[in-house]
């Protein structure tokens, strides 16, 4: 079954056309990578799916339901989470408080004005468990703005996953990471997304080919090819447009 589906999705920024009729199908439980050259429209695709932009034409379906034009908070509540290409954490809050906000959101604790948040033991325990899983427990009380780059990326990714969404969209999670950090991040994502559906945008082909079950290649706002990693590697169109002829 397709957990996410876009039908003839178009988007233009007041005249500048970026997406031309995208028909994307994401199967439940798979790890799907979206690749393509700079300016292909990958992030715009994410933004139209997750409600940052309203698509100018076409529809988006999530779990069979038409969610076109839903606002981000509504999508978050029905089980869609995302991370950002540019790290987007609460810089003045500690790592613990960052994750805790996601955990509170997961439990639907929003307008609670009658309890001291530090005294909610279940929330604290769950947050600490999460911090342990993502290896941030030593940085528990460090403000997110002061974390090292790799650590703040890890926080970024774990915040997207802490709300326990069914579908996670990760926008270039490894951007700017060192080899070691990338390696750790890939391991982290493998561990954290067990049994979930993940869509990633990525430029690092090692990451893409090691993580993805299926790949979609985007080129100038159109889907060039979709398929298993091996098929994509051998696809002549993809080679011409993006991968090049050098054998990986």
């Amino acid at each position: 079954m397709n957990i996410l589906e876009t039908k003839d999705l178009h988007h233009d920024f007041s005249g500048l056309k970026v997406l031309f009729g995208i028909n994307l199908q994401i199967e439940e439980g798979e790890r799907h990578a979206v690749i393509g050259p700079n300016g292909a429209g990958k992030t715009t695709l994410f933004n139209t799916i997750t409600g940052t932009y309203h698509p100018s034409k076409g529809k988006v379906f999530f779990k069979g339901k038409d969610i076109t034009g839903y606002k981000p908070h509504k999508l978050a509540r029905i089980g869609m989470g995302r991370s950002f290409q540019i790290t987007s954490t609460f810089t003045r809050l500690t790592a613990f408080q960052n994750i805790r906000l996601a955990i509170l959101a997961k439990h639907g604790i929003r307008f609670n004005l009658f309890r001291h948040v530090d005294k909610m033991k279940d929330i604290t325990r769950e947050t600490e468990k999460m911090l342990e899983r993502v290896n941030l427990i030593n940085e528990r009380n460090v403000p997110a703005g002061l974390l090292s780059y790799g650590k703040s990326r890890a926080l970024e990714i774990s915040m997207a996953m802490a709300t326990d969404p069914e579908l996670i969209l990760l926008d270039e999670f490894a951007a700017g990471m060192s080899r070691d950090e990338t390696h750790n991040a890939v391991a982290l994502i493998r561990k954290m997304t067990e049994g979930k559906t993940v869509v990633i945008i990525e430029h690092d082909m090692d990451v893409v080919f090691s993580l993805a079950d299926r790949i979609t290649v985007l080129h100038y706002g159109k889907i060039l090819a979709t398929g298993k990693p091996d098929d994509i590697r051998d696809n002549q169109d993809v080679k011409d447009a993006y991968l090049g002829d050098l054998q990986v």
Binding site: H73, K74, F90, R92, L101, A105, R110, N112, T163
Partner: protein
């Protein structure tokens, strides 16, 4: 561990000082302290928006005034109205005003938010001047009856013309307001609030509704500003356009919050205290109090941008770093 035992003792000491304040310092300083308590609460209410949510309002005087005018009008026109309902009317008037404005103002932020408030603040100021038959124009509403604080069948404490009794009423109400606002910042909702300040987009993607969240914070801030204004009106037995709705009423809590430190809950209280002391001292030499305050604000912005509390924290951190490095040096040598 030391801290845990010291803290309750300090609070207890504060409580004792507050109880015996009128006896220790006399009527004049008791009145000064009431003014301080009112403006400290008001500054904290403004800071709930400014420091915790990152929204700067240049027109909070309209809430301060709404509270004052609400209570004054109610006491003037309703015969035999008791004290607590009158204060409640002031509180609700400010709350209602915030509720009406919330759908509009929560959709903007930054400069637009500040400017809209400047406009609304001035609008209410002009309205109070022009609607003479209701508000008394420039003269305001003065000498309205102030009922005694009564618990039916138990006690009746007269307030009019009794500064000491009024002191206790003001301190209890302001103390309670401060505690409620402090608790507000500690709830899960308070966490969402600082989240909005740091990163609105992320809060949205976590599944929180931003305008609704902002609206609640806005109403809380407006209502407590109104409560401060209401006690202020009762304290002077007068509400007037300049005294309760003027532009300085909007700016002074912002200045106090900035001097004290917007990043902390208690910062605005320290800031208000500093200004009270300076005002007392300057008044002995000149009436140009604003001149001195302006200079201090400039100095703080230049040399301690995070205010008094920020500067103290930085010093603390430096001291810890210094002692830590010293201990390390001793260990190695």
């Amino acid at each position: 561990m030391m801290k845990k035992t010291i803290k309750p003792i300090l609070w207890l000491a504060l409580l004792v000082i507050l109880i015996f304040f009128p006896k220790l310092f006399g009527v004049y300083y008791t009145n000064v302290f009431v003014t301080f308590a009112i403006f400290a609460t008001y500054a904290v209410a403004v800071n709930v928006l400014l420091g915790y949510t990152g929204l700067l309002s240049f027109g909070h005087a309209m809430f301060f005034g709404a509270g004052g005018y609400g209570t004054a009008l109610a006491l003037k026109h309703i015969d035999g109205l008791a004290l607590m309902p009158a204060i409640g009317i002031g509180f609700l008037a400010a709350m209602l005003l915030a509720l009406v404005l919330a759908p509009l103002v929560t959709r903007v932020s930054g400069t637009a938010f500040a400017m809209i408030h400047l406009a609304f603040g001035q609008l209410f100021y002009i309205l109070a001047l022009k609607l003479r038959h209701i508000t008394g124009g420039e003269d305001g509403i003065g000498n309205f009856p102030i009922p005694a604080f009564t618990i039916p069948g138990l006690i009746s404490i007269p307030l009019k013309g009794d500064p000491v009794n009024f002191y206790y009423l003001a301190i209890v109400i302001m103390g309670l307001s401060l505690w409620l606002m402090w608790f507000f910042t500690k709830t899960p909702f308070g966490q969402i609030q600082v989240g909005i300040r740091d990163n609105e987009k992320r809060i949205d993607y976590l599944g929180y509704k931003i305008p609704q969240t902002k609206a609640i914070i806005y109403v809380v801030s407006g209502a407590f500003s109104g409560l401060a204004g209401c006690i202020y009106g009762l304290f002077h037995n007068l509400v007037s356009a300049d005294g309760s709705l003027g532009a300085m009423i909007s700016f002074s809590p912002i200045i106090a919050a900035m001097v004290g430190g917007v990043g902390s809950f208690f910062g605005p209280i320290w800031g208000t205290a500093v200004f009270q002391v300076i005002e007392e001292l300057t008044h002995r030499f000149t009436d140009r109090v604003e001149l001195v305050m302006g200079v201090i604000l400039i100095l703080v912005v230049m040399f301690a941008p995070s205010g008094i509390t920020g500067a103290v924290n930085t010093m603390k951190m430096k001291w810890h770093a210094y002692t830590a490095s010293k201990a390390k040096m001793e260990k190695t040598s």
